[in-house]
C-alpha cells in the first residue's frame, strides 16, 4: 500500500491586484505522486517547477492565501488540516532548504531536538563535533548547517521524510553520507521524498524518480531507467532533461518553462515539445501507465 498518495493535486494562490481585482495563480496543477514504504522517490525538475510548494502542501504549511484542490492520502486516509497538524513533526518530517530555517537566536542542540544521546550519535555519523550543539546557527558553515538540518528530520521517528534540497553545500562525502542515511531509513521501512537538484546522486540512491515540469509530474519512472538513457524514458521532457545533463551532451532545448498565470491550455510541455499534435495543445493528457512507469503524454513510449 502507498504511504502517501497524491491524486490530481492543484495549488493556487489568490493574488490581489488593484482595487477589488483578484486572480488565482495556479502553481501546482493535476499532480500525481505515490510513495511506498521502503522507497526513496526523487523529485527532479528545474527551479520554479513547484517542488518546494509540494512539500508545504503535504505538511499543510502553505501560506494563508493558498487554495488546495485534489486528494492527498496518508496511510490510505485523507490528509485533513487537523491530521496534518497532528502528523507533522512526528510522522512526517521535513528537511528544509537552508540555514534560514533555523531560529537565529537558538542554539543548535535544543533546536535539533530529540534525546541527547540520539542527537550525539547522529552528529557523530555526520562528522559534526559534539560542541556543535552549543553553537548558534550563524556560527555554522554551510555544510554543517545542512547536516544539522538533515539531523532534525532523522532524529524523529517519522515514517515519511520530505527532504527539500538536502545536499547542496555539502562535500561529496557528506552528501553521500546523508543519502546513505536516507537509504538506511528507507530500508527500515520508512519512505523518503527527495526533492533535489543533484540529479545524478538522486538516480544513484532513489528507487523512483518523478520529473516535475511547471507544477506537475510529467513522468514517474524507476531510477534505473534514468541510468539507462533516454530510450528507456517515456516523456519528451524527461528525455530532454537527460540530454541536458553535462555528462550526456549538455544539450539544451528551445523555450522556457511557462510561468504560473500563463500556463498553456493543454499539455504544459506542448509549446516546447517536438512531438506535439493538435490534441496536445487542446487537452491535458491523462496519466498513463507505460512500461512500469507513469507518464502524462499522448505520445509516451
Amino acid at each position: 500500500m502507498n504511504l502517501l498518495e497524491i491524486q490530481d493535486l492543484s495549488v493556487s494562490f489568490r493574488m490581489y491586484g488593484r482595487g477589488l481585482e483578484q486572480t488565482d495563480l495556479q502553481v501546482i496543477s493535476g499532480l500525481h505522486l505515490a510513495v511506498r514504504p521502503g522507497e526513496i522517490v526523487a523529485i527532479a525538475g528545474s527551479s520554479g517547477s513547484g517542488k518546494s510548494l509540494l512539500a508545504s502542501a503535504i505538511l499543510g504549511i502553505l501560506p494563508g492565501n493558498a487554495a488546495v484542490y485534489g486528494q492527498m492520502l496518508y496511510k490510505g486516509e485523507e490528509l485533513t488540516p487537523q491530521r496534518q497538524q497532528r502528523l507533522r513533526g512526528s510522522e512526517i518530517a521535513l528537511v528544509p532548504q537552508s540555514v534560514a530555517y533555523l531560529d537565529p537566536l537558538m542554539k543548535v542542540g535544543p533546536q535539533t531536538g530529540g534525546p541527547a544521546e540520539k542527537r550525539r550519535s547522529l552528529f557523530k555519523r555526520f562528522g559534526l563535533p559534539t560542541q556543535t550543539e552549543q553553537l548558534y546557527p550563524f556560527q555554522l558553515s554551510g555544510g554543517m548547517a545542512r547536516r544539522v538540518l538533515v539531523s532534525t528530520a532523522l532524529i524523529t521517528d517519522a515514517k515519511l521524510i520530505i527532504a527539500d534540497e538536502p545536499t547542496p553545500g555539502m562535500s561529496l562525502d557528506q552528501a553521500l553520507e546523508a543519502l546513505r542515511l536516507f537509504r538506511e531509513m528507507a530500508d527500515e521501512g520508512k519512505a523518503v521524498l527527495l526533492i533535489t537538484h543533484d540529479i545524478d546522486l538522486a538516480f544513484e540512491f532513489a528507487d523512483r524518480v518523478a520529473v516535475f515540469y511547471a507544477g506537475t509530474t510529467v513522468e514517474t519512472a524507476p531510477a534505473s531507467d534514468f541510468k539507462t538513457g533516454p530510450e528507456a524514458l517515456r516523456h519528451p521532457y524527461s528525455k530532454a532533461l537527460w540530454r541536458a545533463l553535462p555528462q550526456n551532451g549538455f544539450t539544451p532545448i528551445e523555450g522556457f518553462q511557462p510561468y504560473a498565470g500563463s500556463l498553456p491550455k493543454g499539455c504544459l510541455f506542448a509549446p516546447r515539445c517536438p512531438y506535439k499534435t493538435e490534441q496536445c495543445i487542446k487537452e491535458v493528457p491523462p496519466v498513463q501507465e507505460v512500461r512500469g512507469g507513469e507518464v502524462r503524454c499522448y505520445h509516451g513510449t
Binding site: Q85, R88, G89, P96, A100, L105, M106, Y136
Partner: protein
Amino acid sequence: MRGAGKRLACIFLGYGVKILSLLLAVSLLSFVLVTASPVDPVQQYILGLGTAVSPEQRAQLEAYWGVGQPPAQRYIGWLSRLLQGDLGQSALYRRPVADIIGERFQNSLALMLCAWVLSGLTGFGLGCVMGLYRDKWPDKILKKVCYILSSVPTFWLGLVFLLVFSVWLKWFPIGFSGPIGVQSSQVTWGQKLYHLILPAFTLSLMSFANIALHTRQKLVDVLNSEYVLFARARGEQDWALLRRHGLRNILLPALTLQFASFAELFGGSVMAENVFSYPGLGSAAAAAGLNSDVPLLLGVTLFSALFVCTGNLIANLLYGIVDPQIQEVAP
C-alpha cells in the same frame, strides 16, 4: 573571564571617551547659544536677588561672570569650574544648581521610570497581540489607537486627563508631588505614588505607541520567517511556537527602542511635569528657560545629554548580552 573583563573595560573606555566628547560638544554649543542670546545673566541674577545692589557688588558679580573677557576665556573659566563640580548658583532658586538638579532628578526619575516601565510592558504586550491578530479586528482597532496616541501632543493629553480624572471624576490630585499644605518632608510614599500615577500614565502613553507598532511589525516579520515555517513543519503551534521562537526574536528590537527612547521620555517629561505642576527636572528646565536662569539651564542641558547617553549605552550593552550574534562579533 579575564578576557571578558578586559573586553568590558575596553567597551567602557570607548563609551567614556565618546560621552565625554559629546558632553564637551554640548557644553560648547550651549555656551555659544547663551552668549549669542540677548539674556544678560548678571542682570537676571540681580533681578533674582530682589534688592538693589551697590556698584561694588555689581562689579564683583561682573567679575564672576567674566564680563568684558573674550568668550573663549569665559568658556574655559566656566568649563574649569564645571570640572570641579561647580555648576554655579541658580538665579531663580538661589541655590547651587547641582543641588537642584539632584533633588529634581529624583522626582523626575520616579516619574520617568514608572512611565518607562508602563509603556514598555503595555507597548510590548499590545504589539504582540497586534502581530498575532494581524489584519483582524483587534489589530485594526489597536493600530488606530496607536496612530492617534502618537499624533496627539503629550501636554494636550495631560490636560484632557486632568480635566476628566482630576476635575470631573476627582480620582486623582490636580498636580504636585504631594498634598497641598503638607511639608515635603511629611509626604508619605503612598501620597507620592498617588500623585505620580496620572503624570506617569500620560507620559507612558506618549512612547507606548512607538513600541507597540514596532513590536507588531517585527512579530509579523518573524511569523513570516522561514524558521517559523519550519517550526510549524515540526508540529509546533500557537503559544508554544510564539514563546519558543517569537519572543526571543522580537525582544531585542523592543529593548533597543525602549532604551533609545530616553530622549523622548525626557522631552515628554518637560511637558507632563509642567501640565501637572510636578516638581521634576523637566519643569525646572522650563522654569529656567522662561526666567533666563542661565546656570540652571546649562546644568539641565548637560545633565539631560548625559541621561540620554546613558540610555543608549545601556541599550548597546544589552544587545551584547541578549543577541549572541553581536556578542561574538563585538571587539
